[in-house]
Symmetry: C2
Subunit: 612 residues, 2 copies
């Protein structure tokens, strides 16, 4: 037989050759080899876990998903107990059991490439867990839920004593005994939390489901329900109410005690419980992550809490070119966890206790870690130490043995902060919008740079630097923060310390200029477009540089803050404001000082600011 | 301390006393004791299986469900292999694995009382299995699916080259690359089967999904999709198209090798694969069973195939006061299964084979069973035998050893019929409608009475007595059937043997009056309201009595049958037609005889019938 090979034919053959070469590359494995086919709508959870095991046991470098839709159901999922920072309470003990779509445990040197696939999760699930992994890249994946645990609905036909709710098609409900019930794939909403999105102003404000929970509901047609509401209830027609259950019984994604983890070109389009939680992990890069609903779903919320939550991380946390839109809490939250000293067992041995009801049970200290001893009331790191060994007494209590005796000055209720498990931070080129809380919550003692980001109408402060040894016990007074070249547009319309666009607000009870909590914060070359007075609120900070920023008045939102000061400093020292430019009818142009002499503030630049 | 007990107080105490007495009755167990609460929407499957085990291990007499909604998910369900008569093919081997909501195995003397509860199933599941149970009552339960595997849609806005489909809210779909995809909880429809319900005439006819499968689909709003259809495609606006996958990979309910089973006040509102399959079970009573959609769902179909399927049952099958509405196949089908003789191993030992691709693998012979040897072509039971032992060679083949040598006349391809596993039948007081096939398919050699039923517009014959040793290999020539006091309204508009309201149509190839298949069928005192010619078609029947029936012409449907004979007898003997009353412009009033002399027909009564 004779074959004639034409040039196009040869090119085709070459294409096939290269394609085959690629697909049979000994280092790559496709999930197709595990009888997993996209677009079948069938449950892939158990099969994919087998593929992961194969990849791990055979040291493959890439796990490939041919492009398509993959459905993950709880059926056949690995159930494992994980204590996740800032999730639900002790009373909900069963909620520590996570239902995991894909569990990577002790996996090293692996790229998971979705080729743009869509992973649809069902019920309440933790989509992906990386547990003690190293050098893992997750890329080209879109993650969403068939029925998010968020129920979205639009106000329409608002009348004197009634309102109709146009319910998003993805939000399943029943009406029983005239009462509307939100339910999903194996769950029902019982602890309601509501946030309303103003579709005109693009703002997010706390709202309430209570009025509807008690009102008579009648279905007019599928996904249109009329409520008989009290006379004073007049929601704004066209606005979208988003309602969820507050119990955080799963997380969006969990990256635990891992190293060198990269997420790249990943879309997290809905996450239940909490978002991507990185916990005690070293070096994480988030590049071109879209935390926002897929436009085609026409939903507006993509997470029931924070989008990216970093707790006890170290090395470097890098968040680059990401989009954050539609969260019921902070897009980025970076912190550690202070444990309270409750008992001295020996000279170098302390019993420590997790204090917040939602953050406990995880490994917070590792042998060799450097720690700081912190006076709770003043938030002063007054001495250092090094961990020798750790013994877990219970989910709430650990005994930590230090290499040397603990410092003399330690008093009951003082805290121990893990200084090793704190990260350098770079947050660059991201877009933040549609959240009722902050854009970034940031507390780390290492170098942190926040630059070239846009913050559009975050409900509270665009950037909040807190640090507390109370409340959430989120540790981490800062020493070196640079916030530069960002644009802030109409932020902090519904709260935040002093309603300020940038707020520095540690939890120390006594604001003493001699006992600063935070150090060296530089805010440079940013543009603040704002409708209200407050731009910056800072407390107990030593070394605060606000230079070459531009403040521009906007008019779409109405000024409302009780704090009518552009700058409000409390017990700060070495504060400089220089080169501030102002455009439009900027409000206040004033400075308030508490607990500090004027000598600690240096002003320069053309714009005249009044100290009040 | 002094207690004063007033009369109302005393009555309250007594009420509490009796209530407590009832709830702590030592013989009853509530699922509440297994932490199962109604109306939570949470998956109860694993917990209920624990309750069943407890009931069984502690010999409890009643398992109680407090009234409410219970959700059953595949997650945590028992998976077990069950070969079910008339279900899917060998190629789909995994489909033999059933995902079971509640499995009762070897359970005796138990009542399961749902108190009117609603059991909602998810995905593809077999709702309830009774396997080798005895004296079990299932009552006061409603069974439905969140997303039935049937997709229902209404034609609207029918135009020249387009039509819009109003999709039922329970039918989930996606549109990908302009093509509509039907999917559900873990599945996608690929082998399409369509039936159309005429909402004016209340008829069910075969239809097709193909035209839409290939047409461009555009979503106008959620659950309204426009299709660009070929010019000749003009569906009737307002009609409802119902589409399913033909693969029968689960069954509605399975009652297997059990004894004395009663279902009472049960609603089966959707069943996937096949309906309630009773297989090799002795004595079954179905009382006030509603096989129809719950009205509040506004669906029209309640099963993807037969509603009640009895295969190899014995003792007595009783179906009383039931409602059957909305099936893609027969509401009632009672039959055995003929196995083909393929090889004689010894004088008393035969290799037998299941012949139909969907019916195999189950136990069809038990030690001690009486059998008949049947000539396939003539359907003659020509000899009897008794089973000594059975050995399963494969899912398709068994070796049966008989107590005596098999008869001399046995030739290859003859069949063996299990005569022990045939039931007496009483079907009384039921209502049959909205099916594209028969009302009742009935073949048993024992006494069968079908009385006081109403058949409203069943697509094919209201009653079909078949018996075949080919095709489905459904055994069971009849010897004693009485069909009396029923009302038949406009049946057989889309098929059935001779388009007859009642059809007797065994599969014997040679219709020889000397070799009758069926015996002694009496059709008395029924009312036939019909728009068409055919009333009765009978083949190879000896002893056929059609007496004191009333035939009334109707006009809503149009006569269409090619068989324009009121009575059509083929190779029948001892046929009597007497006392027939007619009202209106009854069509035909004629009789056709094939393969039989007129002497085998006796006519009497006022109405003149022409023999043609």
């Amino acid at each position: 037989m004779l074959f004639r090979i034409t040039l196009p034919g040869l090119l085709s053959l070459m294409t096939i050759y290269f394609f085959t070469l690629q697909s049979v590359d000994g280092q790559s494995v496709s999930v197709a080899e595990f009888n997993i086919r996209p677009d079948t709508y069938e449950n892939v959870t158990p099969s994919i876990q087998k593929a992961i095991e194969f990849v791990q046991n055979n040291n493959k470098s890439t796990l490939i998903f041919p492009k398509g839709r993959y459905d993950f159901w709880p059926d056949g999922a690995i159930r494992a107990k994980y204590f996740v920072s800032n999730t639900s309470t002790e009373e909900e003990d069963s909620s520590k059991i996570k239902t995991i779509g894909m569990l990577f445990k002790n996996v090293k040197n692996l790229t998971i490439d979705g080729n743009g696939s869509l992973f649809i999760f069902h019920g309440k699930m933790t989509t992906i867990v990386l547990d003690q992994c190293e050098n893992v890249v997750l890329k080209n994946i879109h993650v969403d839920f068939e029925r998010p645990t968020m129920s979205e609905m639009r106000y329409t036909n608002v009348a004197n004593k009634s309102v109709e709710l146009e319910i998003h098609p993805d939000a399943k409900y029943d009406i029983t005994n005239n009462q509307l019930i939100w339910h999903g794939e194996g769950w029902k909403t019982t602890h309601f939390h509501g946030v309303e999105f103003d579709t005109t102003l693009k703002t997010m404000r706390y709202s309430d489901w209570k009025v509807f929970d008690k009102s008579k509901a009648t279905e007019i047609r599928p996904n249109l329900v009329r409520f008989e509401t009290p006379e004073n209830s007049k929601p704004k027609s066209g606005n979208i109410l988003t309602v969820r259950d507050i119990i955080r019984d799963q997380v969006g994604m969990l990256i635990l005690e891992s190293k060198n983890i990269t997420l790249e070109d990943v879309g997290m389009h809905y996450m239940h419980g909490l978002g991507i939680v990185s916990q005690y992990t070293e070096n994480i890069t988030m590049r071109r992550i879209t935390c926002a609903p897929r436009p085609e779903t026409k939903r507006i919320i993509a997470s029931s809490a924070d989008f990216m939550h970093f707790s006890g991380c170290s090395g470097k946390v890098t968040v680059l070119d990401c989009t954050f839109s539609g969260a019921h809490d902070d897009p980025i939250n970076i912190h550690g966890t202070n444990l309270r000293y409750t008992q001295k067992l020996e000279n170098n041995k302390l019993k420590l206790r997790f204090m917040h009801g939602q953050s406990y049970g995880f490994n917070a200290f590792f042998s060799g870690d450097s720690v700081a001893f912190v006076h709770s009331e003043s938030m002063q790191r007054f001495a250092n130490g090094r961990v020798k060994s750790v013994e877990k007494l219970s989910d709430r209590e650990v005994v930590v043995t230090f290499e040397n005796a603990v410092p003399e000055g330690l008093v009951t209720n003082d805290c121990v902060e893990n200084m090793t498990r704190t990260p350098e931070v770079l947050i660059k080129g991201n877009y933040f919008t549609r959240t009722n809380t902050r854009g970034i919550l940031l507390t780390t003692p290492r170098k942190a740079v926040v630059e070239n980001n846009t913050f559009f109408r975050t409900g509270m402060s665009a950037i909040l630097i807190e640090a507390d040894a109370e409340g959430w016990f989120e540790s981490g007074p800062v020493r070196n923060v640079t916030i530069r070249n960002n644009e802030f547009i109409d932020c902090a319309y519904q709260g935040g310390p002093g309603n300020a666009v940038i707020a520095i607000n540690p939890s120390n009870k006594l604001a003493d200029i001699k006992k600063p909590v935070h150090f060296n914060i530089s805010i440079e070359n940013n543009i603040f477009r704002t409708f209200d007075y407050p731009v910056l609120y800072a407390k107990s900070t030593q070394g605060l540089n606000f230079s070459n920023n531009t403040i521009i008045r906007t008019h779409e939102l109405t000024a409302q803050s009780e704090n009518k000061k552009m700058f409000y400093f409390n017990a700060c020292s070495n504060v400089q404001i220089s080169g501030t430019k102002m455009e439009g009818e900027v409000l206040g142009k004033n400075i308030k000082l508490d607990n500090m002499p004027k000598s600690n503030l240096k002003l320069s630049g053309k714009e005249k600011l009044t100290i009040e």
